[in-house]
Symmetry: C2
Subunit: 356 residues, 2 copies
DNA sequence: TTGAAAGCGCTAACAC
DNA sequence: GTGTTAGCGCTTTCAA
């Protein structure tokens, strides 16, 4: 069955194609009689006409599509949320999302950007799986938004998680529960992710505000990809002598937090009674499934995806055009935080910071 | 900067636009002198020309895009693999993937299909998150492939996991290790998924072949979405008197297998020495992270996504046009299967099936 | 209030 | 071998 064209509607309604176009696009400028409008609409419905987007795109130079190129987005557990946010926003604005995964291959990326530009996408989103700084790729249209990454030359809108605020919330949660000896279970990589530095900064700031100078031994590291690495790092913490041993751990991610659980359990320590734990990521199938469920900081992937699409479509203005927008990371309170064990001795070397 | 058009190349090379088109599209039919070809290519490179896909699409009626509409695909852990497979195949064939998520909302689905058709996608993939039977939606183009679902009227190509073969492999693995009392930890839903019936069928067949009549008490159920439900079901199994108690469990999915681990641990049972477990799904972050790592059957999401895109693009023929293609589910051997404990009494009521 | 005609950028018959 | 021309289906002046 051949597609029905605008000329078919015109013929059925006994008018010209321009009239049909005018009516169907609700062009208020043109004065078409109410009677004609009705007849055209009726005819369109009867023959089942929907405009050919390609022809319309050629003529109007707008395709109602938005291109999304990402490194490994579609294959990781977080990816879906970003896609879903971008896709929902696109749909609400009558746009379609064209997705390309590059697997971080520069050649694929270059081809993808070109293909998307050739397809005349109205806007583009450049997304990465982890918050990082990227070199601005060649050939991106002006209407490009960076998602979960910040371009080295900050010339275009970008949205990233507010890691510092998230880190602060995590440490404050522990402080509020009465902890003073709080460890930072960091990620150990030759080229540490942006998030690591930012969350560590938050950790130091909040402790300083509380007059706590962290013991260097409280800063431990794991590879970040396995629970086992979190367990090993936690073991090092729990091996500390009682007066230096942390009563709480802020973990770089939920997977290492899972490892902290294992380490605690193997020593007969209860969470949270003997050890409080806060994670980061709110990773499905991890944070919620742990026993007890893990208190953690959520990465706002859905919201970032939505923000990116809305800005790309011009439906929203970035508050500060030259700064990445920092999307809040909400704390998800579950059951892994309580007050420290009563027997826990107060820290020995916790001198208040004397910065003015 | 305005896009460069074919006429710019023609002007730069001193030829007509048709010559440029002929050269750039490698039309072997047309005899263009090698010298002219070189000049055109040179000019195209110099001015940085790439064809406008929209204009080309209008003219050729082929857009080199493929539409993928799915229910909740992008938001679940498995989704990425299907997307990645489809996307890789699309890219290899020079096509772009247009993605729409419907959240299983029929109105959204209808609009999505229409939008994709209006955008003149060359082919369509209709995907679901779980293997199920679907009513064929209205308006799908002829070139549609069903991914991870089978249309009620089997008129179009479809690909689903080979659940029966996967289930057989799981149970055979246990049988080969020497188990005779093998439980089936099923999913408990009012409207059970296709996979449940198929895997159960495999379970019964393989046991029958081995001359084992399963004790009805070995068929237990959990809600399938939480590890806790798997634990509770496993408890019921382990509460059975010693001579009826299973030495191995085949679980509907990895999450419930995780629950089986918890149940075993709470009774001081070692896996696999005291209890062997096989899961299904090979779910990242579950199967591999369990201690010991779980032997399981993988769902071939990537391969199914790739198959669907290749068939949609005509790059591959379905072997049996009217039957869904059954994609093999490979067994992933890890460390949760061993021979049954030596002390385990052999089953009491295991009479061979006498079916011819 | 409506229709005729041009043109978006490209490809493919058909001339020459 | 290469250029001219028509037309994909639509929107948008402009004229009537």
């Amino acid at each position: 069955m051949a597609r029905v064209r605008i000329s078919d509607v015109a013929a059925a309604a006994g008018v010209s194609t321009s009239t049909v176009s005018l009516v169907l696009n609700d062009r208020t400028g043109a004065r078409i009689s109410e009677e004609t409008r009705a007849r055209v609409r009726e005819a369109a419905a009867v023959v089942g006409y929907t405009p050919n987007s390609i022809a319309r795109g050629l003529r109007t130079q707008r395709t109602r599509t938005i291109g999304l190129v990402s490194d490994v987005i579609a294959t990781t557990p977080f990816a879906g949320r970003m896609l879903a946010g971008a896709q929902d926003a696109a749909r609400e604005h009558g746009h379609l999302l064209i997705l390309v995964n590059t697997d971080a291959d520069p050649a694929v990326e270059r081809d993808a950007i070109r293909a998307l530009v050739d397809h005349q996408v109205d806007a583009m989103i450049f997304a990465t799986m982890w918050h990082r700084v990227v070199e601005t790729p060649e050939g991106l249209p002006d209407r490009t938004v960076f998602l979960d990454c910040r371009p080295a030359d900050g010339t275009r809108p970008a949205v990233v998680p507010d890691e510092v605020a998230g880190g602060r919330a995590a440490v404050r949660e522990l402080l509020a529960a009465g902890h003073r000896r709080i460890a930072w279970l960091d990620i150990d990589e030759p080229d540490p992710p942006v998030a690591s530095g930012l969350r560590h900064q938050a950790y130091r700031e909040v402790l300083a505000e509380a007059g706590i100078t962290p013991d260097p031994a409280w800063h431990v590291r794991g590879d970040g990809t396995t629970a086992a690495s979190g367990r090993a790092a936690t073991d090092r913490l729990l091996d500390l002598p009682p007066h230096r041993r942390p009563t709480a751990i802020f973990c770089f991610n939920d997977r290492m937090a899972a490892g902290a659980y294992v380490a605690a359990r193997h020593r007969g320590l209860e969470i949270p009674a003997d050890l409080s734990v806060v994670g980061y990521d709110d990773q499905q199938l991890v944070a919620g499934e742990l026993d007890p469920p893990l208190t953690t900081i959520a990465l706002p992937h859905y919201e970032m995806g939505r923000w990116a699409a809305e800005v790309a479509l011009g439906a929203r203005e970035p508050p500060e055009p030259d700064q990445p927008y920092l999307m809040p990371c909400p704390i998800i309170r579950r059951d892994s935080v309580s007050s420290p064990p009563a027997a826990a001795p107060t820290p020995a070397g916790g001198e208040p910071d004397t910065t003015p």
